[in-house]
Amino acid sequence: MRMTKILAMAALVGLAASAAWAQKTTEEGIAEYRAMLQDGNPAELFEAKGEDLWKKPRGPKNASLEKCDLGKGAGVVKGAFVELPRYFPDTKRVQDLESRLLTCMETLQGFNAAEIANTPFGKGEQANLEGLVAWISSESRGMKFNLPQSRTEEKTMYEVGKRLFFARAGTHDFACASCHGTDNKRIRLQDLPNLTKPSGAASGFGSWPAYRVSSGELWGMQRRLNDCYRQQRFPYPRFGSDATIALAVYMGVTGKGGESVAPAIKR
């Protein structure tokens, strides 16, 4: 009796060990695949388009975006991305890159921001936003995230973002934290960064905007969060809404000091 139990245990341990080995090679295979994609990221195509869109006079006012203030003064692009979202006195709002671009497109170029916010991803001016966020983020590549937290509004958004991150709801009781609240977890074969820790938040938050291999599209943080909420079985987060910006503040502040690699290439 005792003997059979020991034998059974040994068999189980053996199985577990071989399963772990097979898993290791799968993970190595995936790492190899990702490494092969690094050279030649199609996000570059979007960056080139975005730079053009920034400098070209467009919209009802036939103006470029070159006077747009992304937080570091009118027209300053370098380093702006790693300090967003932040508070803007003119709109009296904490804004992320995408909602700030809408402000500039409305005030400088005469576009209707609300209309663009309601346009489906990848269509019309939303497609142009993809290029803009790709280029603007690329201008901060290699710089460290340093979101300002000096203003009450910015601290408030961090606190709200933290609560949203842990909010379980919807048909499946999912919160952001269900998948992104623990170290070393995977969904299927995809590694899940722990967004509650500095390193995880830096790598998770810090690789968007990214070229999505699965759809062949450039996704900004707004679209990334939108699809997270879709898969969480939540209702639809409005483009540029305070909930999405608060979450970005929570992740970005948590990831302070991490290096921006955006726009990255992702599955």
Partner: protein, 103 residues
């Protein structure tokens, strides 16, 4: 005319390594739209590379080449300052030509 390509051509010994990204849907003809209708195939089918205007490579592609295609190849004897040209033509007859300087 499609969006511009990104071409990088770098000297490597006696040769130049050329990396190209092309902006193209590369629709496979195997997918259905949300209404369940087949989306017709639409892809780059011919690619040509030139060195200082002289053709050095041609390729034929099917719909299985990935969206926003990546291509890397090595041109013999290309030096810094040489011009690498890339042209593509797709199944709708649309085409695009871009050029880069070897560095």
């Amino acid at each position: 005319m499609g969006d511009p390509m990104r071409i990088r051509a770098q000297v490597a010994g006696a040769n130049a390594v050329v990396r190209v990204l092309m902006a193209h849907e590369m629709e496979s003809g195997q997918r259905k739209d949300s209404a369940g209708k087949m989306i017709p195939a639409w892809h780059i089918q011919d690619v040509t590379a030139t060195l200082n205007g002289k053709t050095v490579m041609t390729a034929e592609w099917g719909p299985a080449v990935s969206k926003n295609p990546f291509l890397q190849f090595t041109v013999k004897g290309a030096k810094a300052g040489d011009k690498i040209g890339i042209s593509w033509k797709d199944t709708k007859g649309d085409s695009r030509t871009d050029e880069a300087t070897v560095s």
